[in-house]
């Protein structure tokens, strides 16, 4: 499959971030929380891809991002602009599932440089921008992991 041009550049791709797997980490450099690059690594290898939900399809169905959070006690939800994703040589594809019609894939190799662009895209003034924040957000400075 190739990039789906019916998914507009102005749309957003929603991705869940686990709250209890150190994908949200404290950065003393930024004095703020950031995301690990692992939040944007491909699980699938052939083709290389990770899963997202396509916001325009949600909207067409009269649904909101709350419908794709799965478990608000375990995940937060971020949004990547489709235009930015395509600029990183990624293809955006629809992969609807019976219980997840807005499901899609971001297809393409994702070296750390691409993950960094994605992290920057969900960060403004060192602050992570959530569509739905993870439970307990904002978290206390210094991190949740006991060091």
């Amino acid at each position: 499959m190739a990039d789906d041009p019916t998914i507009p550049d102005g749309s957003r791709l929603l991705r869940r971030i686990p709250a209890d797997a150190n994908h949200i980490i404290w950065s003393p450099n930024a004095n703020a929380y950031t995301l690990s690059s692992q939040a944007f690594r491909n699980l699938q290898k052939q083709p290389p891809a990770f899963s997202i939900n396509i916001e325009t399809i949600l909207q067409e169905s009269g649904l909101t991002p709350d419908s794709v959070i799965k478990d608000s006690a375990r995940y937060g939800l971020i949004a990547l602009p489709v235009s930015l994703v395509r600029q990183q040589q990624q293809a955006v594809e629809r992969h609807p599932e019976p219980d997840d019609p807005s499901h899609g894939h971001v297809v393409g190799e994702k070296p750390k440089s691409v993950a960094r662009v994605f992290i920057q895209a969900v960060t403004i003034a060192n602050e992570l921008q959530w569509v739905i924040p993870p439970p307990g957000w904002p978290w206390p400075p210094g991190g949740k992991v006991d060091k």
């Binding site: 869940r16 686990p18 209890d20 797997a21 150190n22 994908h23 980490i25 404290w26 950065s27 003393p28 450099n29 930024a30 950031t34 690990s36 690059s37 692992q38 690594r41 699980l43 990770f50 899963s51 799965k70 478990d71 375990r74 995940y75 070296p111 750390k112 440089s113 991190g143 992991v145 006991d146 060091k147």
Partner: protein, 146 residues
């Protein structure tokens, strides 16, 4: 280089790994700060169930834990700050530091395939390392400086 070995008690209630030095040295007893942190993080990470990221992520394998332990034992020093251990959806581990003006990510895909991404003094570099970990040791040493 020191190598640290560990046994994780395989009981339902035991959550903490036991660390045992294979080559004892007084110097490594002083490294208890980062070792304790890493052991606690391993304990938490190994609780992750399949699909922990909601996208089909694999649980972290024993092989992945062993690979990370072997790696840390080879590159860390007693003054090194503890990394944040981050699970990969494919079942391996990444160690990260974001401090002292350095952003360092070390992904231990297997014992001879270590992906390193460094941003900090001396300029950025990304490299896949095998048995030669000199550049990574140098990066850790920069993190260890007061």
């Amino acid at each position: 280089m020191m190598l640290l070995a560990y046994d994780i008690a395989n009981t339902a209630s035991c959550q903490v790994g036991e660390w045992r030095a294979q080559t004892p040295a007084p110097l490594w007893r002083e490294a208890s700060a980062w070792i304790s942190s890493v052991a606690a993080q391993f304990s938490q990470i190994q609780k992750l169930q399949p699909n922990w990221d909601s996208y089909g992520a694999m649980p972290i394998t024993r092989r992945a834990v062993d690979a990370m332990i072997e790696l840390l034992g080879s590159v860390m020093n007693p003054n090194a700050p503890a990394p944040t251990l981050v699970p990969s959806a494919r079942g391996h581990l990444q160690a990260e530091w974001h401090m002292k003006g350095i952003d360092l990510e070390v992904e231990a895909i297997d014992p001879t395939h270590i992906e390193v991404d460094y941003r900090g003094p001396g300029g950025p570099w990304s490299e896949t390392l095998g048995v030669d970990l000199v550049r990574l040791v140098a990066a850790i040493n920069k993190l260890s400086a007061p």
